[in-house]
């Protein structure tokens, strides 16, 4: 087996408001093969993101594997609407950072593109 960081495998990892009460996360891969390999690894699952962000299940409102874009997408409920006093990220744009370092374990024979 080999271990890679998610940021080495994904083309785009981002977060953004989806409406005023939700933040949505997109992890987009370059090609079908990498997308499938990461999905099959189980490293990015409902359970994995709940644990990473320390969230109860009820706050994960959507978790979608979106084949046409080679993307994994999930959405969480905010505790208070965007822009409330004290909200430190009114666009939800910097909440993706913990995803970058997720360890993804892949079979040795998975010939992935060099991320360079």
């Amino acid at each position: 087996m080999q271990t890679r960081k998610l940021h080495e495998l994904a083309k785009t990892i981002r977060s953004k408001n989806a409406g005023v009460d939700r933040i949505t996360f997109d992890i987009i891969f370059r090609d079908r093969r990498t997308y499938d390999a990461v999905r099959h690894s189980g490293a990015v699952s409902r359970e994995a993101v709940l644990a990473l962000y320390g969230l109860p299940e009820a706050r994960l409102t959507d978790f979608v594997e979106f084949d046409p874009a080679f993307a994994i997408k999930f959405t969480i409920a905010r505790l208070r609407p965007s822009g409330s006093a004290g909200d430190p990220d009114i666009f939800g744009a910097q909440q993706y950072a913990p995803l970058l370092d997720i360890d993804v374990t892949l079979p040795d024979n998975e010939p992935l593109d060099d991320p360079a």
Binding site: G19, A69, F70, A71, K73
Partner: protein
Amino acid sequence: MIIGSAGDTGTNSRVDLYVGIIQELARKHNLPKFRVGSFYSEVSRDYLRAKIRAGDTIEGLEGRPALTEAELDATARVVGMAGVHPFMELLDRGADVIIGGRSSDSAIFAAAALHRGYDEGLSYYLGKVLECASFCAEPYGGKETVLGEIVDGGVHVTAMHPDQRCTVASVAGHAMYERSNPNYEFVAGGMLDMSRCHYEQLAEKTTRVTGPRFVPIGRVRVKLEGAAKVGERYIGMAAVRDPYTIANIDTVIGWARQQVRERFGETGYELHYTVYGRDGVMGPLEPVRTPAHELCIVVQGVAPTREMAEELCMTGTRQMFYARLPNVKGTAGSMAFVIDEVLPASPAYRWSVNHTVGVDDPMELFPTHMHDAGV
């Protein structure tokens, strides 16, 4: 030319401002006469109150409870999110330029295609894919131009920038942007179902999309947006380098909060501390538990008057300087300040209305106007 959500919020004053800008530019450049159509999208609280009292529930979105009269009373202003209806009416009446109040991004483009008689699914998809310009192209840029066409039962999207392409992945990927679910897009009047879309690379810079379907709703529901003023706001900043103080920063903040309570009581204001260098960006979502070697603390004081907000924020910021921890070596001040005062900020609002209202005629919320421009 069609512009939606004038000034972003789409309030009536922004629509008037934009119409004025168009008329002024037309005069300045001696443009031949043309017609500017506009519509408002502010919704009166009396209209919504009558709906509530009549039992026509104003339903909450995203898990919110139905709108109450109390929450409506607290709300300063409400706008309705227009679909294609007011745009199409103004196109029918011969508008050359349209300035819209608050509206769904996709409706701006969809209305133009529907006006020419194209299929609903393709028209709404055209709007959806074009709404953020080159966000449906790659590589990522800054909203460069893209061209959308409806051709032989499909939507063709082409990147105009010499270095960008619309690929199957980039076009499909855009459906995810700022949406909870990439398969469905809701507008006043129905839902665009993209779950059976088929994407095909037609040329180097062009992708063809087929299969989007529009599912009309029976009685139209219009999304409402509104905000309630919480209070006036000041902002303070403080920083800390002492490792012992950093390790006990919550105790320091607790001390400052206590001083505020003694001066202002328990309620009637909001006091927020954002601790940069620890969890300033993510708050409770932050998985990293080790703070940095220096912290910056931003304090927000929100209160009914500017005077109170200033004093509240000043107390909440300054008292961190005086916090006394039992084992701290430095005794002359617990904080570093870049400025020995607090700064006025915009008033604090909270998003109080994120709901939908049912309407018998979608135009009842969006009065239209026609204006002359040019000479």
